[in-house]
Subunit: 337 residues, 2 copies
C-alpha cells in the first residue's frame, strides 16, 4: 500500500510517527493492520521555512521529520535533537555572530554542516535528504522523505513596523515565527522563489500513484499551503485517483500547537475546520475533525470525528489509523465493482 | 617598540605568548623591560596549512595563535580549545562524512563556521582574522595578527604510493601531517597558489617598519618557509632596517615537537641549526640556538646560546627575552652614533 503524505514540522512528524506505529501494532481484533513490508510511505516535506544561518542551510521541517521518524528528536521540544549540547552556538554568540534567536544544538549543527557541504558541491536537496534519511534509517521503516522542491524557496512575512520606520517590511518566516512568536501583526506571506520552483523528483508521481494521500494536521497556511503552491502539486492532488484525507489542525477552534489561527487570520480564512477544509476544497475527499467539532459534511466530503490530541505516540497512532481507515474506505467505495 | 614575528602554529604561539609574558614581567634587576603600551607585536601567521573540511575553511596556525595568545588553548594538546566537546564531529561520523582523521571540537567548529560565513560573504581572510582577534582580545595585548596572505594557498605533499598504485601522488599537508604523522615518505612540498599570492594588507609594512623582526622556533620548511614564499616577504626581510633574529627549532639535532627534521630532509637540508640558518642566510642577523648546539658564528650572524625548551610559559618568556635582547643589541649597534 502506497501512502503519500504532505507534511510540515512538529505536528506532521508526530502524526506520521503515529501512522508508522499504527500499521505495525497488533489491534484488539487481530494482527497489525499492515506490516512495514506492505506499506510504503512517501512524505513530501515543506521547505518554505528553510533558512540560511551562519552560512549554513537549515531545513527545519525536513529535520524535524528526520529526527522524529528516526528516533533522535527532543520529545519535550518537538524539534531539535535529544541529549543536545550548545557549545557551538555559545561560541558564535561570543564572536558576536547573528542571529541568536534561532536555537541550534551541536548535534543539529552537524546536519546543517553536512547538508551545506553537499549543496555546495552541487548536490540537489532531494539527494542530500536521501543521504540524511539513510543516517536515520528511514528506508528500513518503509519511508521515503522528499523535499517538496530542490529549488531554494523562502517564506517571508510582510509585517507592520512600528515607530519611526512605520510602514511595511518583509522578514523571514523564521524570524516572525521563532523570534516574534507570530505576535508581530502580519499582512501577508510571500514565498520567494515558489512560482519558479519545480517539484522535486518523485513528488508528483508519489501523489498520482498513491493508494491514499494524507494531509496530517500541519499548519494549513505556512506548511501544507506552501507545498500546495509548488507548481504542479495542486493539479496532481486534483487528478490523483487516490482519495485525499486530511486531519484538521484545529481542536476547539484553536491549533493544538503553533500559530495556525494567526496564519489563517492573516490570509483571511475563518479559523475553523470548515475554513481549513475550504482551502483544500478542490481535492479533499475525507476530513478528520475533533469529536466536538461542529463541521458539517460537505458536498463530496466525508467528515469523521475523533479525538485529535496527539498526547502520546499511541494517541497519534489512533488518529492516523482513523485517517487511514477513512482513506481505505473511500478507496474501496471508488473501486470498480 | 614595534616587534614583527613570522609564526606557524604551536611552537610559534607558545614562543609569542612567552614574549608577551616577558615584556610585562618585572625582572630580578628591576621593573618589566617593556610595558604593553610600549610594545606593538605584529604576528604574520602561516596559512599554507589551511584546509577546507566539511565545506568550512579551517586555518590551523591562525587559530592556534588566536587561542594561545587569547587564553583559550588546550594546553595539553597545544592546539584546539580547552574544555572542548565533540558532539558535532560524532554526528558527522554517524553521517559518514569524511575525513574523520582531523579532530574538530564543538567550540572550534564555531570559529570555522563564522570564518566560512564571512569569507562566503566576500570578506578577506585578514578582515575575518581581525574579527576573530577582537573576540580573543588581542588588541588589548598589543597584538595584531595578520594572515600572510588573503589568497587561499594550500601546501600539498608529493608522496610515494605503495602497492598497486605505486608512483607519486600529492596529498594535502594536513593529511600527511595529521593522518600519516609525517611518516609517509615525502618527495617534496608544493604550495598551490603561492606564486600568485599577494601579502595581506600590512604584512610588508610590518616587516619594513619594525624595530625588531623575530622568527620563533616554528617549522622552517612548512611554516616559516611558506611565509617566506609569499611574493615580497623575503625581499622585505632583506630590505628592512630592523635586525632579524631567529630561534632555532632544533634541540640536540631534533625538533622539540612536530616533524621539522623530516621536513628538512625532504627538501635536502641538513637537520641542524646551521642548516636552518642557511635557509634564512640572506636576511638573518641573530640566531638563538640551544646551549649545547655546535653551531658556529657565521659571517654577519651573531649566535647566542640559551636553553631552548619551552617547558613552561616562564621558560618560553626567557627564550623570547633572550631573542628580544639580542635584537635590541643588534639594533643599538646599527644605530648611527
Amino acid at each position: 500500500m502506497r501512502i503519500t503524505a504532505l507534511a510540515g514540522g512538529v505536528g506532521g512528524a508526530r502524526f506520521l510517527r503515529g501512522l508508522l506505529h499504527h500499521v505495525r501494532t497488533p489491534q484488539p481484533t487481530g494482527p497489525a493492520p499492515h506490516s512495514l513490508e506492505q506499506v510504503e510511505l512517501t512524505v513530501i516535506g515543506n521547505t518554505g521555512d528553510d533558512i540560511t544561518l551562519f552560512g549554513l542551510r537549515v531545513c527545519p521541517d525536513i529535520d524535524t521529520l528526520l529526527y522524529t521518524l528516526g528516533g533522535g528528536i527532543h520529545e519535550g521540544q518537538g524539534w531539535g535533537r535529544a541529549d543536545e549540547t550548545h557549545s557551538l552556538a555559545g561560541e558564535l554568540a561570543a564572536l558576536g555572530a547573528e542571529p541568536q534567536w534561532f536555537t541550534l544544538g551541536d548535534k543539529d549543527f552537524a546536519t546543517h554542516v553536512y547538508r551545506s557541504q553537499l549543496l555546495g558541491q552541487g548536490m540537489p536537496l532531494s539527494a542530500v535528504t536521501q543521504r540524511l534519511s539513510e543516517r536515520w534509517g528511514l528506508g528500513e521503516l518503509g519511508v521515503t522523505l522528499l523535499p517538496m522542491t530542490d529549488t531554494p524557496v523562502e517564506t517571508h512575512v510582510v509585517v507592520h513596523a512600528d515607530g519611526d520606520d512605520a510602514g511595511q517590511r518583509a522578514i523571514h518566516f523564521q524570524e516572525w515565527w521563532v523570534r516574534h512568536r507570530a505576535e508581530l501583526p502580519a499582512d501577508r506571506f510571500v514565498v520567494a522563489g515558489l512560482d519558479r520552483a519545480a517539484p522535486a523528483p518523485g513528488v508528483l508521481e508519489a501523489i498520482r500513484e498513491a493508494d491514499v494521500v494524507i494531509l496530517p494536521p500541519s499548519n494549513p497556511v505556512v506548511s501544507i499551503g506552501i507545498i500546495l503552491g509548488v507548481p504542479g502539486v495542486r493539479d496532481a492532488l486534483r487528478g490523483t485517483r487516490a482519495p485525499v484525507v486530511g486531519v484538521s489542525p484545529l481542536v476547539g477552534g484553536r491549533p493544538v500547537r503553533g500559530h495556525a489561527d494567526v496564519c489563517l487570520r492573516t490570509i483571511g480564512v475563518e479559523e475553523t475546520s470548515a475554513g481549513v477544509a475550504g482551502l483544500y476544497a478542490d481535492f479533499l475527499d475525507g476530513w478528520l475533525v475533533d469529536e466536538d467539532d461542529p463541521m458539517p459534511d460537505g458536498r463530496g466530503l466525508q467528515v469523521v470525528r475523533r479525538p485529535l490530541l496527539m498526547s502520546s505516540v499511541e494517541a497519534a497512532a489512533e488518529m492516523a489509523g482513523a485517517a487511514l481507515d477513512l482513506g481505505m474506505r473511500l478507496r474501496a467505495e471508488r473501486a470498480p465493482a
